[in-house]
């Protein structure tokens, strides 16, 4: 686990630490490397919270700007992503507060889960399956969606999830259990089709 979707421009923790140290000295080019390394993940997280692709891009950019303004307070040597994640999440929540009517997270508003694809290995079917999973995810609570996103799509280790959410590893496991139960229920027709 760990690191899926992370662009390889910043290949390792040492290079990342060097780049962040340069950012703390005000080097914007170095920050460009960090932004490019985490952009895809940040937009994906924002999209999972906001469920609005255009707004997600906008909020993710704003989160990177805020992170740069606060980067001198970042403790070098600590993992960067959980720190960025928390800023990003707060930006998303602020964006939701600004437009509660359009971005309601009520599960009643979620689209119905599409039928299971006929051949899950075909590219078109993979797309259908992803749509079914997204629709099922949309019916879950924000807490469940968040932890499933981190565990399943970002493929983070429990330690990283715990750091992102500021919860103990035991809570990660119990929350993941509840979230998977909810997802299993929401995805029941698709899961049965694959059996």
């Amino acid at each position: 686990m760990g690191g899926a979707g992370r662009n390889p421009i910043v290949p390792g923790p040492e290079e990342e630490t060097r780049a962040i140290a340069a950012c703390q000295r005000g080097d914007r080019d170095a920050y460009g490397l960090i932004v490019k390394a985490y952009a895809a993940r940040a937009v994906d997280v924002a999209r999972s919270i906001l469920r609005d692709a255009a707004l997600a891009e906008d909020v993710a950019q704003e989160a990177f700007v805020r992170a740069f303004r606060a980067i001198r307070r970042f403790k070098l040597g600590e993992p960067f992503y959980p720190w960025l994640y928390r800023i990003l999440k707060n930006c998303c929540l602020s964006a939701l507060k600004r437009r509660p009517a359009e971005a309601s997270l009520d599960s009643e508003d979620a689209p119905p889960v599409p039928a299971a694809p006929s051949d899950p290995s075909a590219p078109a079917a993979r797309k259908e399956l992803r749509a079914a999973i997204d629709a099922a995810m949309a019916t879950l609570s924000e807490t469940h969606r968040e932890i499933l996103h981190l565990a399943h799509f970002e493929e983070l280790a429990y330690k990283e999830i715990a750091a992102c959410l500021r919860i103990p590893i035991g809570t990660v496991m119990s929350r993941l259990w509840a979230a998977r139960q909810a997802l299993k229920k929401a995805l029941a027709p698709v899961v049965e089709h694959h059996e």
Binding site: M1, A4, G5, N7, I9, R28, G32, V35, K36, A39, A40, R41, V43, D44, E57, A60, Q61, E62, F64, V65, R66, F68, R69, A70, R73, R86, I87, N90, C91, L93, S94, R126, L129, R130, I133, L148, A151, H152, F153, E154, E155, A157, Y158, I169, G170, M173, S174, L176, W177, R180, L183, K184, L187, V190, V191, H194, E195
Partner: protein, 145 residues
């Protein structure tokens, strides 16, 4: 399944996150409890179903465009701060000259003073609102933590 701890540990087992002692405990329970085994299989299938949908990589051009967007916002923020600083300085200097110079009639000075006080009141109102909002802003607390 009777032991709620085992359900939770099952997640760690499924994701390969357990210490050896807990792993052994779950494996023993899986061997002896068909309900637990069934639940594990269901969770494993669910995990398999959602596997392979990790975050999409972006092309270099897309990343460059994203970075340009971030850079522009950072640059504009600096520009706004400089503009605000400069504007405040110019207004303060202008107000000082306006009120200390003997030329304008006192009625013009009074009108100018009204305009200045009105502007200051508006700025104070905006600032006070910001001060009320910021302490409740989760992001603000996060950065200072």
């Amino acid at each position: 399944m009777s032991d709620p701890d085992l359900r939770v540990l099952l997640m760690g087992y499924l994701d390969g996150e357990l210490e050896a002692a807990d792993r052994t405990r779950v494996e023993r329970a899986l061997a002896s409890d068909p309900d637990l085994k069934r639940e594990y299989e269901e969770m494993r299938k669910l995990k398999e179903l959602t596997a392979g949908f990790a975050v999409d990589e972006r092309s270099d051009a897309e990343l460059e465009m994203f970075w340009t967007g971030v850079y522009n916002r950072m640059e504009r923020h600096t520009a706004w701060m400089l503009l605000l600083f400069g504007f405040t300085g110019v207004v303060a200097a202008g107000a000082y000259l306006f009120f200390t110079h003997p030329w304008p009639h006192w009625s013009v000075k009074l009108a100018g003073a009204c305009g200045l006080v009105g502007t200051l009141l508006l700025l104070w109102s905006v600032w006070r609102e910001r001060c009320r909002v910021l302490p409740h802003d989760r992001y603000h607390r996060e950065v200072h933590r």
